[in-house]
């Protein structure tokens, strides 16, 4: 297997990346590549241009701001996992990132990449939603702050415009109690269903086209999860009730 042909760009600055995204037709941003490169290998994605942001210096910071933690576009999931700052201010993110694939994948994969990829079964979009976090989208037109509630639009679809680069995610401090619980076939697999608790707020993942906020007293209300070889819709609804009860048992 090899990726389909594309033109490769490796900008050295965010400005250069934004100007490329503004001028190129059909470009994809390559950060950690742990979702995009498999899609290329399977030829499920055939972008004309790849904008590899890995050469941009100083875009991998994890820092405290506005009572929460900001994670820049090139901060690897492993760095977030190991961050004392994240463990102190936002331990829910520390717990969630450990559930993302395997350490070897997290050595390359990025938190912002998981958010921009917006797989409905992935943990970090649901965590951002449960916490009421935000992302900063930068383009040649300027910066735009997008709330988690507006960011996730559909299966692997976000409110990011084609010329925008997700430069930073901001996670508010974890309220207590918090929890993230999920059920998957094997350790490190995508979850069949999962629940994130941030104090009284509940976000579910793996059961709708996007992560969704739900009522902890009746979490399955209105949900119509899809079925596949691994789990029927009914089983996913069962998991939602069980996982929510576990998350709220603490």
């Amino acid at each position: 297997m090899k990726p389909p042909p594309f033109e490769y760009h490796a900008p050295a600055s965010v400005e250069e990346a934004c100007s490329l995204l503004a001028s190129l037709e059909d470009a994809k941003v390559l950060a950690g590549g742990q979702s995009l490169v498999p899609l290329l290998n399977f030829r499920l994605a055939r972008p004309a241009h790849i904008v590899d942001i890995n050469r941009i210096a100083g875009l991998d910071r994890i820092y405290e701001r506005d009572g929460g933690v900001a994670v820049q576009a090139l901060a690897r999931q492993a760095a977030v996992e190991d961050s004392d700052l994240v463990a102190r201010v936002c331990p829910l993110v520390s717990a969630a990132v450990r559930l993302v694939a395997h350490r070897v994948i997290r050595n390359r994969g990025t938190v912002c990449g998981s958010l921009a990829h917006a797989d409905p079964a992935s943990e970090l979009p649901a965590v951002l939603l449960a916490l009421g976090g935000r992302v900063v989208a930068r383009s040649a037109r300027g910066d735009r702050v997008i709330d988690a509630a507006q960011l996730f639009q559909g299966v692997m679809e976000t409110a990011l415009a084609p010329d925008e680069l997700l430069v930073e995610a901001w996670f508010p401090a974890s309220p207590r109690p918090f929890a993230i619980v999920e059920e998957s076939r094997r350790h490190g697999d995508f979850a069949l269903a999962g629940a994130v608790r941030a104090a009284g707020r509940l976000a579910l993942f793996g059961v709708a086209p996007t992560p969704v906020l739900a009522d902890p007293r009746d979490p399955a209300k209105g949900l119509q999860p899809s079925g596949d070889l691994e789990a029927s819709p009914e089983f996913r609804l069962h998991l939602v009730r069980v996982l929510t009860a576990k998350a709220f048992a603490a």
């Binding site: 297997m1 090899k2 990726p3 389909p4 042909p5 594309f6 033109e7 490769y8 490796a10 390559l30 590549g33 742990q34 490169v37 498999p38 290329l40 290998n41 399977f42 790849i50 590899d52 890995n54 492993a78 694939a101 395997h102 350490r103 070897v104 994948i105 050595n107 390359r108 094997r186 350790h187 490190g188």
Partner: protein
């Protein structure tokens, strides 16, 4: 990029995967290729000392970085790397297809946790698939590798 300490130019074709570059352009066929979408772990190499999937990186992305493959752990004729030695002693392999990936993942695991708990061992090898051993001997090999690494 530097591969096992030697400088090499990156390939001209940007769609060349690092795994294919290592095998086909540099002849380093110790890096095995299984699923080519990041699930099986066979192609794991060290990038600047940390294990990564070489099938999920473009070779051009390794430019300016240090890549270590299974061939780089111990020179021909030299004593085996402690992780290789442990896999040998504990029968941590049968057919050997998954072994280079396991060994590189375990090198990374022991770098992160020099004295891994049983849970950390399981977590550390959970991203690699083996269809022969049933994993029990591999788990023993990881614990043995931790002992050998301290000597």
């Amino acid at each position: 990029m530097r591969v096992n300490g030697a400088a090499h130019p990156a390939p001209a074709d940007p769609r060349r995967l690092l795994s294919d570059h290592l095998r086909h352009d540099l002849g380093l066929t110790g890096t095995h290729v299984g699923c080519e979408h990041g699930v099986c772990g066979c192609c794991t190499v060290l990038l600047d000392g940390a294990p990564v999937r070489s099938c999920l990186m473009l070779a051009v992305q390794a430019e300016g970085h240090d890549v270590t493959t299974i061939e780089g752990l111990a020179a021909d004729g030299a004593p085996l790397h402690p992780v290789q030695q442990a896999f040998h002693e504990c029968h941590g392999l049968q057919c050997g297809f998954c072994t280079p990936g396991f060994v590189m993942s375990v090198v990374g695991l022991l770098g992160q946790h020099p004295n891994p708990t049983d849970e950390q061992v399981d977590e550390g090898i959970s991203g690699n698939l083996c269809r022969c051993t049933g994993y029990a001997s591999i788990r023993r090999a990881v614990t043995r590798a931790a002992e050998l690494s301290k000597k």
